[in-house]
Point group: C3
Chain length 496, copies 3
């Protein structure tokens, strides 16, 4: 039922002629690795062989002119330039920097390849990513005393103590498969373990917090992040990162249903219906020719050009380059943070939050109007490649109204919650207690953590429909606030 187009036939004939192309040679060290691992770990070896790293060398890649250039480092060590980017090239790079470096059949191997290793060839991306909120995702959660309370209320194990439910620390911290699955773990070196392998006894490092591919992983060389969060091992594929399935790994739940909204949007429909004919590997990525509706990457990260080759959007690995607002920050949406490290923020009450409980923004750390305008323009550049200015303006005005209205609703829920805390219906921060662990507090959390977020993401992506209404949208948000109000009425008022 499939048809060939003529262009395919031409390509076919061209390919037959062109395949005299000589692939780059593998280094002897990588050949040694493959000597065993080819049959021990066929999955990852074959995956690597199917990728760019196995087919070209940094030296060849650096010769590429213009926008197709993928190696952003001006200089790459001569020793790496002439060979493919194989096992040894990454896993024996900068051995002194990695705490997990160990002797493996005479090679100084480290297990966890880090952004600083990748930066040898991709320095610009690594630098941009360092300014991305994601690279600080571990610390931004775990070193913030308020967020830490939310985390504890989730990861703790509810136990009965004298008839009351208390949140006990679990025997083994579930966080690496819970919040830190996406945020990234802090890796640290345990001891050394000796294993009986097919090739005799061998020593390996024990790494705490391993395995993990979270976006803000704290690595054994001190660097932050995991490029493999979006470019899965060992193909490290541009194509995969450009598809929405990658973003979905961490953006699908009720707290941040970006993927679900996208999938149900017009853009998502066109992607689902037509993407089998798109070219996800082209660099630069030509709008209209390579694809006809945006994926997450197109709007937020990719280098886009029009069919004349003119740049529409610069490549960035700092997502907030194109974001004026943070839509799913704690409690209220707000102008985006200027810095990626959010632990130093203090709101008007001295708490490490971008707004206070009334929704007023923290001073000096959030984007001002001029900066928001730059981000808006950077984002809208891709909208305008398909839509008129009046379309895009109409969309944006709605988004900003929705931010205000969901913040207003959240304010109502939060005022009710503050009153409940005040009247002793629950124990919050002022009582020295966790403000997120009781049932009524969980109900309040849902207002902003699920419903307000869904509504805003639905607005931002023109995903409209269900995610703004019945799928954790306005229906649930209004009901949830009525539920809090009902509960608050059940708390006895203090006597006269």
């Amino acid at each position: 039922m499939k048809r060939f187009r003529n262009v395919d036939v031409l390509l076919l004939l061209l390919l037959l002629a062109a395949d005299a192309r000589a692939d780059a040679p593998m280094s002897p060290d990588t050949e040694a690795c493959l000597g065993c691992h080819d049959s021990i770990h066929p999955g990852i070896v074959q995956d690597w062989k199917a990728g760019r790293h196995a087919r070209t060398s940094p030296g060849e890649a650096m010769k590429v002119q213009g926008k197709a250039l993928l190696v952003s480092s001006q200089e790459v060590p001569k020793s790496l330039q002439g060979v493919t980017v194989g096992c040894a090239e990454c896993h024996t790079l900068r051995p002194e920097a990695h705490a997990d470096t160990f002797d493996h059949n005479g090679h100084e191997v480290h297990v966890v390849v880090s952004p600083d290793d990748c930066a040898v060839c991709h320095s610009v991306e690594r630098e941009q990513y360092g300014r991305n909120l994601m690279s600080h995702a571990y610390g931004n959660l775990m070193d913030n005393r308020v967020y830490k309370l939310l985390e504890a209320s989730i990861n703790g194990v509810p136990k009965l103590e004298k008839g009351r439910v208390v949140t006990a620390r679990p025997e083994m911290d579930p966080n690496p498969e819970s919040c830190l699955y996406c945020h990234g773990t802090r890796l640290s070196l345990g001891g050394t373990v000796t294993r009986d392998t097919d090739l005799g006894e061998m020593d390996f490092p024990e790494i705490r917090g391993w395995p993990n591919q979270g976006v803000g992983r704290v690595n054994l060389d001190g660097s932050l992040g995991a490029c493999t969060a979006c470019h899965p091992r060992h193909r490290f594929s541009l194509e995969t990162a450009r598809k929405p399935y990658t973003c979905k790994e961490c953006h699908a739940g009720p707290d941040v249903p970006a993927y679900k909204v996208y999938e149900a949007s017009k853009h998502g429909n066109i992607f689902s219906s037509q993407h089998k004919d798109w070219n996800f590997g082209a660099v630069p990525w030509t709008l209209g020719k390579d694809f006809t509706a945006p994926t997450c990457a197109a709007c937020h990260m990719s280098l886009l050009v029009n069919t004349d080759g003119k740049e529409i959007a610069e490549r960035t690995h700092e997502i907030k380059d194109r974001l004026a607002y943070r839509l799913f920050g704690l409690i209220y949406a707000h102008p985006h943070h200027r810095d990626a490290d959010t632990t130093l923020i203090r709101n008007r009450d001295g708490l490490p939050l971008p707004t206070d409980f009334q929704g007023r923004p923290a001073e000096g750390v959030l984007l001002n109007e001029k900066e928001r305008d730059q981000r808006r323009q950077a984002m809208q550049a891709s909208c305008l490649a398909c839509h008129t200015r009046s379309w895009v303006d109409g969309h944006w005005i709605r988004l900003e109204a929705t931010i205000r209205e969901t913040n207003d609703a959240t304010r109502t829920a939060t005022d009710l919650m503050q009153e409940i805390w005040k009247r002793g219906g629950a124990a919050g921060l002022a009582a020295g207690a966790n403000p997120f662990d009781e049932f009524i507090e969980k109900t309040w959390s849902e207002t902003w953590l699920f419903y307000a977020n869904s509504i805003r993401l639905s607005s931002a992506m023109a995903g409209g429909g269900d995610y703004g209404v019945f799928a954790y949208g306005r229906f649930q948000m209004s009901g949830n606030i009525q539920q809090i109000a009902d509960e608050s009425r059940r708390i006895p008022r203090p006597g006269p």
Copy 2:
């Protein structure tokens, strides 16, 4: 890892020979449009170029004989017959009819192309669609005083007033990205805006309610609907409309989880697993040859033939042609409305609803048994192309029992709710209040709006399993009713 079949190889050789095909010429007006828009809006222009409209002319298309004919109008203006269906052909059509027509470099352009424009070539589809419930989706929601209360309870912003939560009208109506994202907005002309463009200052009309592609959009020429809801701009693709991703845009939430049920059904599994080898562009659509399991379009709309070319189902753009029942109507499922405009319905209590609160159908406006039987046969024709009569009958008997049983459960919930209203536990219609805005009322709404609907759709699509049980199905419906009963017991009974 992909294999070619011989049929592909033959096709390949044939295509090499056949591509002497001369495409239809573009009109000079459309060429003028593309002079600028090709590089300003590469996304939509390339999308258009990939579609049928850019490759053929109405005149050529009208020559097609038999079931492959796509132009249903008997007559098409001569001036349009010889050129492709380009920018100018649609956006300058019937300029006097469109309130948003404006002078654009000497062309009388209108922004919003409407079903009445499309009807120039596709008159039968437009006529059918006018009888489709969807074309009236705006008025059916916004001009019905009961539904309007539900809408207000959802889109209003909960605010605190003297300690009580009230639903305030928001500063800016969120409805265009909420209910009306799917139902369609009412477009109206604002003023004119002057914009500084790359080509100097230009005037553009300002359109309220824009952008929107909802199924019942009220257009600036007074027509109802947006063909682009299902045939996305600017490819207007048959292929896309035949894939379930299109229907998903508005049929995925808990109120109408049709897509989710489909995806988890046997049909959906076969679609997901095998559709890459199907031909979504063939007209007519041959069951068994072009596809081997139905998508939404196959059962509800498409012209289907068997491998002998014999018609199995007629093409229709009036969905209720094949529907005996409305499964997700307000409160109770019921025989389908006869007319697409439902605002004139009055139930036995004088309310504009297809049933009363006891579930009794409104008189004279719903399909009678004979009409339902016709719709059943129209739907079952496609079932019977793969399944035996006993299979299909077994399925249908279950569906009708499920309609009765979910209505019975809804009746229980509604009787409880009526009692709560009566005893002052909440303020409903009789008290002159919104019956959908309090927490207990929201809980009651979930009975029929989410759970009964899920169960029925799961039954109707043989999607069974989770959507009939644990995924907003019978588990939640029974629990929800128990919750309403528990709440009702907390309301003090009136004294003796």
Copy 3:
């Protein structure tokens, strides 16, 4: 936008040469069937023609050497060996064994083809499947008096009786489209029905519980199961069964969200992004060459080899061959049952449950440590084809901790529930009542049936992120337990 690789071009040329291949002949009986059914039922006939059964004969298939062999029976009746596996071969097989055998134009046809029919060629798979929990899914649910109460609380219709909500038996049992959609129905023969067909009047058997393709269907020859649950009629495709969409039919809801977790996992991302280039039809299935990330089938069932052809995992149709634990068993996770028939299990309280309400395992029927270790090794063999031992061990240690911690949380919820029953806040087993039907009991059921299950599956599949946290994960589980505690405090304590 698609490119051909050289290997494809070579294949193309090879295929041109090789297609002199003679397909196996159809039997005269099957030809007779197709005489009518080709045009009456084009969907299923064409689907069959696209599958292996239409292209080869058992005799040819039995000649295959080594791991590519698909016919596992040592002996196949001579009469079947020389022809394709068509309509007549299956639907007239073993006529005396099937209660629904009827005379159909001179052929002894039965409607429902059973695993015992398939076993004529696929005896090993049938035998393994008989030891699979799934084959006993009907009885394990319907013949267990505790599970039966859960089923009744779900499938019953809530009705009002003297102001109280009671669960009434519905007019027509919805179970075939509810629990039994997946578990399978018990088929039985009703009478005979005479139908007016295009070919005159004909008699057909009436089958109660039909249609159904559930995994534990009780067939009219007494056999258990439906091969078509995973190999949909009439292609019976290996490819379809190897894709996760098949498993999704029954493993997507909140009780067992395996598909959703998979889809959001790294494995699922790679599948979604790259599987269009995988070969789902290769036997054996070569890891790295045919696919580069596991689907459900790869980990749980398929015969896997590495690129040297060395076996990584044996094919099995007994899923528990590779499962040490049952993660979504009733109330608590526990070492897997040894036998597929679980109705004979008795816990320490004499109930047919694998654990008691305190979580203590039933004695003698669950896998011991040594058996669990075998299952663990069988599962980990495929993990180790891509991951190091330390990666796999790190993963497994987390899973076992998560099993303990979710069981601890469930224990807290269950202790609260026991106290509520004791104090008369609800009527449980001890009061001779259904312990699953009241609202507070439903709330308690959600603890283990939804939230604990999601968390465990998220852990097991390294799906982490949302399904372990906010998507029916730890956030909901802890909130749910607090809700039960809040409710329990509202029940008046017995006086002194």
